[in-house]
């Protein structure tokens, strides 16, 4: 009898263990969830995730707590961890729905949103958001993981099919799209070019007479074929151009009874320019400053009158200019407007060019 009673008591005790264990677990889970909520409210995000890491099961069984941990990860900018949490949450709570959704996509079937709980859709949206942050965090084009990009698009497709938060989904997609375009623009590349400029420049000289000196200003026009190379991103450009210059111009002055005039005097030389500019439009139009060095020889004839001579300065001169380039696909127009150092004369040019890339 006593043995029977003891056996029954043991059996009763044993039978209550799982229930008691469950009660204990629930009490413990409840404690964890409360603790995480408290830490979250105190903005102790690092402690939130630590608490999660040692109480994963308790967190993954509660949507609200999992959400708080997810946000904590996002606040800490730990998006891969946030993604892992969300995947675990889906596996724990919505494995059936997840598998069904995948199958529907594989079979090109449109999923019925009514078959998918809002919590499931909401976690999908958070995964989508975390992927977007991963991509937005990339600071150069090579920093974007192809896998992340592909997953981001997959989740966009799923959310579109489920019709969940359509506007927000699109806004996130637009942001990512713009960021990818920006990264593309940031990429530096070499861009070789050829061009032909119509150029007008001025050279100074002086007419020295027996009693006085008269300043001469020769105004020239010519053509300037050349080649250049730019090192540019979607925002900035550094360029170097080298060109041959062939032109002509005239000069006239009167000193006393002497009339000095030269027309169509040939001028040849080289022009080298170093520029730094800003890309100002999607079509890659450019605006910047350029330092040009000209080496042009132009021989003005000696005056016929005795005692008169023409003095020409060094053939080398420097010009600082504003340049702009207006691009139409590979072709471009360019203009340059500059002023010489040390003398009141200007240079300007207008040209047509072709860019190889």
């Amino acid at each position: 009898m006593a043995l029977r009673t003891v056996t029954i008591l043991i059996a009763l005790f044993v039978s209550t263990v799982p229930a008691m264990a469950q009660i204990q677990l629930e009490a413990s889970s409840f404690q964890v969830q409360n603790e995480i909520a408290r830490l979250y409210q105190q903005k102790k995000y690092r402690l939130v995730v630590r608490k999660y890491l040692v109480n994963r099961k308790a967190v993954l069984h509660d949507y609200r707590t999992a959400l708080l941990v997810n946000i904590a990860y996002e606040k800490l900018r730990e998006y891969p961890e946030a993604l892992t949490l969300n995947f675990d949450y889906i596996r724990t709570n919505f494995q059936t729905e997840n598998v069904r959704l995948k199958k529907e996509f594989q079979n090109n079937q449109a999923p019925d949103p009514a078959n998918y709980p809002l919590q499931f859709q909401s976690v999908f949206f958070r995964i989508y958001g975390d992927y977007s942050q991963e991509i937005l965090g990339a600071t150069w084009q090579g920093g974007v993981s192809g896998r992340n990009l592909s997953a981001f698009e997959q989740y966009k497709k799923a959310l579109d099919a489920l019709g969940y938060q359509a506007e927000a989904v699109q806004n996130i997609h637009d942001r990512v799209d713009n960021h990818l375009k920006l990264l593309k623009k940031k990429k530096y590349r070499w861009r070789p070019r050829v061009f032909l400029d119509y150029i007008s420049w001025q050279t100074s000289a002086s007419l020295n007479g027996p009693y006085e000196t008269t300043a001469l200003l020769a105004t020239n026009v010519g053509l300037c074929p050349g080649a250049g190379i730019s090192y540019e991103s979607g925002f900035w450009a550094l360029s170097f151009d080298l060109s041959y210059l062939q032109g002509s111009g005239g000069v006239s002055a009167t000193q006393g009874l002497v009339q000095y005039q030269q027309t169509d005097v040939s001028a040849t030389g080289f022009k080298a320019a170093l520029g730094a500019g800003m890309i100002v439009s999607e079509s890659r139009s450019e605006l910047g400053l350029r330092l040009t060095v000209l080496d042009v020889s132009q021989s003005l004839a000696r005056p016929d009158s005795t005692g008169y001579s023409v003095e020409q300065p060094n053939s080398l001169s420097e010009v600082i200019s504003i340049y702009s380039r207006w691009t139409f696909d590979h072709f471009y127009l360019q203009s340059d407007f500059g002023r010489y150092f040390k003398r009141p004369a200007t240079l300007w040019s207008l040209g047509l060019g072709y860019s190889f890339f």
Binding site: T219, G250, S324
Partner: protein, 386 residues
């Protein structure tokens, strides 16, 4: 009583006004047609409500607004005196444009002057569905740059436009009154050769009738005119003009214009080809090549003049435009002398209703028989519209 107050307000607005200029380079913002933003379908003159809001949020820099102001909030302040219109039929606008001009700076012939170019007001009355019927007029301080033949040289207060317009449909409209001639690219720089040579500057308006048409591909206008009726009848230039533009690749426009005017002393026959090309993001290139044949009564001023314009606007940031204004003039095609005017500039819209502009003009004469120094101008311009 209410009617009298309305009349008084209308009169005051009219007495204080003048048109905003046209900016054909806004094709770079995706606006190939002026009709989107102006009551005058070929541009110039007062802005529509839509044009005002475009000016406020797309054209003007946002850098001086509070961070939390949305574009919508900025646009809501684009109405007359920063208010949102409460009725649909009356619109007013006030304009001021001043210029500080320095000619040949740093030389012995340097000359500086401040010019009040305009201080005037505009009144627009609009009726019927989609504002099919419009009355547009302006009046105010608008001294002509050069004395207008036949007009009192001391006349400083005047109107530069008043007309009635009726659009039978979005595609076709008729406009009658005192207006600019339908010819060439209506750039804001009224001293440019493409405006001076064919005589379509800011003081060359005429009384006439214009038919305007526009669709997705084509836009154009044909105008018949009887001259400026404020001038003596022998000075009036009567004639016609036409302009046609076609869209290319949806974002560019190419076109041509012709104009014939004749009076007792002078006849002009002009033709021009032009293109407006969008570089996107607010940047654009404008090109015009034209020729004008001038015939005078006694034959002494007869000549064929050829002119060209290449104007580019590059927009590095919102509100700021760097421009290059390159002009060509062969005053007489039989002569070897050519003038090229080259000018970089900056146009800045710091906030809505305010435009600041700096231009440098270098005019160079190419003459095989003479070498001359360049003529320089520095122009600082302020434009306020309310």
């Amino acid at each position: 009583m209410k009617f009298s107050v309305a009349l008084l307000i209308a009169f005051l607005a009219l007495v204080h006004s003048r048109p905003a200029e046209a900016y054909p380079h806004f094709i770079g913002h995706g606006y190939p047609s002026c009709l989107n933003c102006h009551y005058n379908p070929l541009g110039n003159g007062p802005l529509t409500d839509y044009g005002r809001s475009v000016g406020a949020d797309l054209v003007s820099s946002g850098m001086f607004y509070p961070q939390n102001w949305s574009d919508e909030k900025v646009a809501s302040l684009s109405g007359f005196l920063f208010r949102t219109p409460v009725q649909d039929h009356i619109r007013t606008q006030i304009n001021y444009r001043g210029l500080y001009l320095i000619q040949n700076p740093g030389t012995s012939i340097e000359k500086k002057q401040w010019i009040n170019m305009q201080a005037d007001g505009q009144l627009i009355l609009k009726f019927l569905e989609d504002d099919k019927l419009t009355f547009v007029g302006d009046f105010g301080y608008s001294p002509p740059e050069q004395p207008i033949p036949g007009e009192d040289p001391n006349k400083k207060f005047r109107s530069r436009e008043y007309y009635v317009g009726y659009r039978f449909s979005p595609a076709i409209g008729v406009y009658a009154g005192f207006m600019d001639k339908a010819y060439g690219i209506r750039v804001a720089e009224h001293i440019d050769f493409n405006r001076v040579i064919p005589q379509v500057t800011q003081d060359d308006q005429t009384h006439g009738v214009m038919v305007h048409f526009v669709n997705e591909e084509w836009e154009g206008a044909v105008q018949g005119f009887v001259g400026n009726l404020q001038q003596a009848s022998d000075l009036r230039q009567k004639g016609f003009s036409a302009i046609v533009e076609r869209s290319v690749n949806e974002i560019h426009r190419v076109g041509f214009s012709v104009m014939k005017t004749s009076g007792e002393y002078l006849s002009l026959l002009s033709g021009a080809l032009h293109g407006r090309f969008s570089l996107k993001d607010g940047s654009a290139v404008l090109v015009e090549l034209g020729q004008t044949r001038k015939s005078t009564q006694n034959g002494t001023g007869d000549r064929n003049s050829r002119y060209g314009l290449l104007q580019t606007y590059l927009r590095p940031i919102r509100g700021l435009y760097f421009l290059a204004n390159i002009e060509y003039l062969k005053g007489d095609v039989t002569n070897d002398s050519t003038t090229i005017r080259w000018g970089p500039g900056v146009q800045f819209f710091p906030v809505q209703k305010l435009e600041l502009r700096l231009d440098v003009d270098d005019s160079r004469n190419f003459n095989p028989n003479a070498s001359t120094v360049d003529n320089w101008m520095v122009l600082l311009q302020t434009h306020v519209w309310l």
